[in-house]
């Protein structure tokens, strides 16, 4: 290891900093990152093919399981796409319930993220507190939908369950608790010196790069760009609910943290407004089993950013082609740019700063360009290979 030469430090696919498998190979000179090579695809499950093999109703549950934390966002995007293909009109009450569940999921996802970010910088105590308070959201979602993750609230044509009036006081009580705790955490994050030292000025993404490299979600909003699908292209009931699009303009990890925590406060307000102004009426409409020919694109603001689903139907009861572009894929080129020139010690927090969800990301097919080989294996050959 001579003077001036670089070491290659691999991150993943198994690494304590990564919650899901991905591989980044860093060229490190001392403690500074001088080169980076990302490799993704470890979580590839063949979801897009799986969509083509199932009926439209079964696909709702498949779409939900693309990701655990943003499951409702994927389900919403799917049913919106299919409803557009069918030309079905969702009743207003169902739209409000979709907004409520989506915002509760955003609360859950962002508080999970702040805990994970705290763990990445070695602040385990904050991690424990945040995840304890997150239990309030999970219990609330369990009351509303019957499960803590994978809420299965959306169906084609509306929602499956109603929010009865006697549940609303409990929801409001939990929201009050969450708002108080979020305000405490916001204050703490802004004043705790060790957190500030590790996140301010770290992983800076200038606004021009953010737009050029197609960053999405809080990563984009932390660089000062006001871009939010809920405001630009309102879906469900977002057109009727007033809210602020939170931006900060430093572009570093601290700004991303602030954007997410303040979005949590916005979500609490939005949920309260939606609960108070929810119209009465039906919660779903009947839809036919076969979908006419057509194509639809639906966009949703998942907690991590803009999520795009594309559906192509051919008149039968099954899809012709389905494609998902999840927010983490959009953020990977941007994060690679921010990692260059930084310290090795900052890599986990910068990677965590985009809130990576590799389960969402890895459904695309990749060809092994290094060996330019492509091959097909039968199930038997695969089993034989793995048992060697």
């Amino acid at each position: 290891m001579g003077y001036g030469s670089t070491i290659k430090v691999p991150f993943g696919p198994q690494h304590p900093a990564l919650k899901e498998p991905a591989n980044f190979i860093f060229d490190v000179d001392g403690d500074i990152v001088v080169g980076i090579k990302p490799r993704i695809g470890y979580n590839h499950r063949g979801m897009e093919k799986a969509f083509e093999l199932r009926t439209y109703l079964q696909n709702v549950y498949l779409a939900e399981r693309i990701c655990g934390i943003c499951s409702d966002a994927h389900a919403t995007a799917y049913v919106q796409g299919v409803e557009e293909l069918l030309g079905a009109e969702v009743p207003p009450r169902a739209k409000y319930i979709r907004v409520i569940v989506a915002e509760l999921e955003r609360l859950h996802s962002h508080s999970l993220w702040v805990g994970v970010a705290a763990h990445e910088i070695g602040f385990d105590t904050l991690f424990m507190y945040l995840w304890r308070d997150r239990e309030a959201v999970m219990n609330l979602l369990e009351l509303i939908s019957g499960n803590r993750v994978h809420y299965a609230m959306n169906t084609i044509g509306g929602v499956r369950r109603d929010i009865p009036a006697d549940l609303i006081p409990k929801i409001k009580q939990a929201l009050d608790f969450l708002e108080e705790r979020t305000k405490y955490y916001l204050n703490m994050v802004k004043t705790e010196q060790t957190i500030l030292k590790r996140t301010v000025g770290v992983g800076v993404l200038p606004p021009k790069d953010a737009v050029d490299l197609c960053a999405v979600g809080p990563t984009l909003r932390a660089s000062g760009i006001k871009n939010d699908v809920r405001a630009d292209d309102p879906y469900a009931a977002y057109g009727e609910i007033p809210f602020n699009v939170i931006t900060h303009d430093q572009g570093d990890v601290f700004s991303r943290m602030l954007v997410r925590v303040e979005e949590m406060l916005e979500s609490v307000n939005m949920t309260r407004y939606a609960l108070d102004h929810m119209p009465a009426g039906m919660i779903r409409v009947k839809v036919p089993m076969a979908v006419p020919k057509g194509e639809a694109v639906s966009r949703v603001e998942a907690p991590r950013g803009e999520l795009i689903h594309y559906a192509k139907s051919n008149g039968t009861t099954k899809l012709e082609r389905y494609k998902v572009r999840s927010p983490t894929l959009g953020n990977i080129p941007a994060v690679c740019k921010t990692l260059m020139g930084g310290h090795l010690a900052d890599v986990p927090i910068i990677l965590a700063g985009i809130d990576p969800c590799f389960s969402c990301m890895d459904r695309m097919a990749f060809v092994d360009v290094k060996t330019s080989k492509h091959w097909v294996w039968t199930t038997q050959e695969l089993k034989r290979h793995t048992s060697k």
């Binding site: 070491i7 403690d31 763990h119 070695g122 424990m128 507190y129 060790t194 010690a345 890599v347």
Partner: protein, 325 residues
């Protein structure tokens, strides 16, 4: 030296207040550390092994002893096997100097304070060598970070340690303890700045948050300990616990008056109470901070801690750190 005194010395070294007692104390302090940290984080901590989970550190030690011991092919065999042994033996050796059950340590001589500093340096050299001899990227980075960290805290630590020695006019820990007891005052009241500086530097020496940079779990897996498993890892963890006992005993002897006979309470009990209080303080500091980056740590040490340590020495020279004349 009659046979009786020889036998008594051997028993003292091996059992009380020697090796066996320190072993029990090491496990006990690790338990206090884990339980208090857990309660601060609103969870239970060890619960089921023994009453209140008190046997958990011992159980973990036994478990590690029974696991497979893997040596990477690139590692230097001799160093790889010897490093854990040194790491656990060095704090144990240093403990013999610190007064535990009486006013003087088992071994005490003029200048043993410098010997203590020497042991600290040797410990860090051992850490660096264990990281280096494993020859894998994570351990090498961890070892290098440990050596770099020592460059940051060593001088403020030495200055803070020398403060009580100046007022006691003795370079022996037992001498400092005697001075505090004969003048009926604790050094923490005379030199609170020195105490604070020493606590921070010893946190860095122990490798606790906010200075657990050599072992940062989320960045370099386990740093210099990455490649160790089985018995060697057990010895490393035991060495860390011995270090905790040693660090708290050092803080108690230099600043909190050491083992004192208070009324009818024997000195060993006051020693235990004071060191437990120091362990609780270290654990509290561990819970409420995030981890620093290595360059921030070094610049912070040289920019802030070193001038404060020099200030403390200057104050002592002006008579503000010793007894009022």
């Amino acid at each position: 030296m009659t046979i009786a005194t020889t036998v008594l010395s051997v028993l003292q070294v091996l059992i009380f207040p020697g090796t066996l007692f320190l072993l029990v104390l090491a496990f006990f302090y690790e338990w206090i550390n884990r339980k208090f940290l857990a309660r601060l984080q609103n969870r239970y901590g060890p619960m089921y092994t023994g009453p209140g989970g008190i046997l958990q550190p011992f159980a973990d030690f036994l478990k590690l002893l029974s696991k497979e011991d893997i040596m990477p092919i690139t590692a230097d065999t001799l160093l790889f096997s010897l490093a854990p042994v040194f790491y656990s033996a060095l704090p144990l050796t240093a403990m013999f100097i610190v007064p535990v059950a009486s006013q003087t340590g088992l071994i005490s001589f003029e200048g043993d304070l410098i010997f203590v500093l020497f042991i600290f340096t040797l410990i860090v050299v051992t850490i660096f060598l264990s990281g280096w001899c494993s020859m894998t990227r994570f351990s090498v980075i961890g070892g290098v970070r440990a050596a770099l960290q020592m460059l940051g805290y060593e001088i403020p630590m030495a200055l803070a340690i020398v403060g009580p020695a100046i007022v006691a006019k003795s370079l022996s820990i037992s001498g400092i303890v005697e001075w505090q007891q004969s003048n009926n005052i604790w050094n923490i009241l005379l030199q609170p700045l020195g105490f604070a500086i020493l606590v921070i530097c010893l946190l860095a020496e122990l490798g606790y948050v906010p200075f657990d940079i050599p072992e940062a779990e989320t960045e370099i897996v386990a740093g210099w300990q990455t490649e160790y498993s089985g018995r060697k890892l057990a010895l490393f963890r035991l060495g860390k616990d011995f270090e905790l006992v040693f660090v708290s005993a050092l803080l108690v002897s230099l600043f909190l008056g050491g083992p004192q006979q208070v009324w009818i309470v024997p000195s060993i009990v006051t020693f235990l109470i004071k060191t437990v209080a120091v362990v609780l303080l270290l654990t509290l500091l561990r819970a409420v901070f995030a981890r620093f980056r290595i360059d921030q740590m070094i610049s912070g040490m040289w920019k802030y801690l070193l001038p404060l340590a020099i200030l403390q020495i200057i104050l002592i020279q002006f008579g503000l750190g010793g007894l009022p004349l």
